[in-house]
Symmetry: C2
Subunit: 149 residues, 2 copies
DNA sequence: TTCGATTATATCGTGTGCGATACAAATGTA
DNA sequence: TACATTTGTATCGCACACGATATAATCGAA
């Protein structure tokens, strides 16, 4: 195996790590206007698609563990963006749903992607490149999720 | 602009965020054997290429701010992986270099990329795909770094 | 039916990331 | 030379991530 290939996994992990942070930073001005963080924005997106959903299912959709999601949802409940309620079916289960305040953010949030796209595209990174990358990343994520167990 | 395109920035940001975390998790077993974290591994890689380097220059190479790097380096100094010394040229400047213990990790660390590559490649994600993605990500990072200011 | 295993959530400790701020050393300029 | 500005580092507060652990509710097999 060549030295070039030996270094490749480092050379792909670091760009992923950096690009992820930089793009999240590019979201920040828009998220600041809404008073939320990027992980909180992800939770809101899940809840706009799912009326009522368990802590566990939010975690699965975001590929996070409940020990991350649980405090995150507690902070969002404190901000009155969501409501947390024990399920009557299964007393272990906590169901989460949007408050009116949480729902109200949807309109503002829906404008973010369009504004972001201007930041993300350029001469060297075009729409087709991004679509291709998304495809590769999603396949990769599926593989890595399986190995995670 | 189509709905598909409007959603694209979210659909690329989340995969980047998830893939970054999942790949870092895949590194974890190897890093655990060395008793370091992924950001600490990045610092070591910088120091294997640079004998003596300032806190600020480490930060620039890792695209992080000094308020992240500074405590990180302090923890690494406490583990005796590195030494921190005020520069005599410029008293504001703190120079960092590897200890023998830090240098000793290099041999073990150099084996990680080869082992990782097995985890990362598959039928659906081949070497060429990864090389292509790295290229795109690096171009993207340059653009986003400029906009960061 | 009982009791060990599993599941859903929460808590704790540690290590990042990052905005805001502080402070001393160096630099530039009148 | 004075003195405002810039630069390099550190500190503080907060919000993740995540491994380890705890606890209660549910499930499942003898």
């Amino acid at each position: 195996m060549s030295t070039e290939q030996l270094k490749l996994s480092n050379q792909i992990c670091f760009p992923l790590y950096s690009a992820s942070r930089l793009i999240t930073q590019a979201y920040q001005p828009y998220l600041d206007k809404m008073g939320i963080t990027y992980p909180q924005y992800l939770v809101l997106m899940v809840l706009w698609e799912n009326d009522e959903i368990s802590v566990n299912d939010v975690a699965k959709k975001l590929i996070l563990k409940t020990n991350t999601i649980s405090p995150l949802l507690q902070r969002m409940a404190k901000q009155e963006l969501i409501e947390r309620n024990r399920s009557s079916d299964d007393e272990r289960c906590v169901k989460v749903k949007l408050t009116d305040k949480g729902k109200a953010l949807e309109a503002k949030a829906k404008l973010i992607p369009e504004q972001m796209l201007d930041h993300l595209l350029s001469d060297s990174v075009e729409l087709d490149d991004v679509i291709q990358m998304r495809h590769q990343l999603n396949q990769w994520i599926e593989i890595l999720k399986d190995k995670q167990k």
